[in-house]
Symmetry: C2
Subunit: 151 residues, 2 copies
Amino acid sequence: MDIKITKARKSDVHEILRLIDELAEFEKLTPPDEKAKKHLVNDAFGKKPAYHVILAKIDRKTIGYAFYFYTYSSFLARKTLYLEDIYISIEYRRLGTGKLLFNKLIDIARKKGCGRMEWCVLEWNKNAIDFYEKLGAKELKEWKYYRLSLE
Amino acid sequence: MDIKITKARKSDVHEILRLIDELAEFEKLTPPDEKAKKHLVNDAFGKKPAYHVILAKIDRKTIGYAFYFYTYSSFLARKTLYLEDIYISIEYRRLGTGKLLFNKLIDIARKKGCGRMEWCVLEWNKNAIDFYEKLGAKELKEWKYYRLSLE
């Protein structure tokens, strides 16, 4: 099967939202409500995008996506590409789509002059962790990650 | 002592770089070289800032800083304020500067419509961890943080 990786356009919104619902189910999280979905669309496809989206497609069928944005490493004095979400539809696993999406992200990151790519993974997601380790990524074990809710 | 929190301007660069060297020593890391320092300055004070800086000052003396930028939570469909670095000069500790810098960041985050503030801390930095816990921040224990070096 011929898998193509492309930048998402506004016309892809419906397919992206369908996969987001699927991911929420997979991660055992509540899917975004209608208001949140509207924000997600505006924040990716508005004038000042807060994040970017690439898609994996087979023919016209969208089978996966990656959401990313740029952070900054003051230590390297260079940008970092941060991968916020990556998801491949369950029925299209084991076709190498994850690798294709990662290769595209690495390519984008290098072109932007990033020194690193970073992301988080749920600790029970062993398949993903194996994949990341094979890529050569390292877990940052000496750091603790903190969050303050402002809601 | 009267501590003021202000947005950094280009004229503050020399003082910021002095404190960065101090932080590198404190965290047992190599300080940035001249090329990296040039990047740090351009990336904060150029046309499209990759990160932002607020400063703590006593009179004209800069005693601390925070570097931050905006990330994005696809789960909340809202921006996050990510704190990349916070540092207070060793000789000016225990004056409440950390709390003032955090309060300012929380204020900035709320004004930008962020749903969260996030940051990392080295696991041996117990003083900082105690401070974050008192603020009401929670460690994200169920996530693993991965990094792929592109250098």
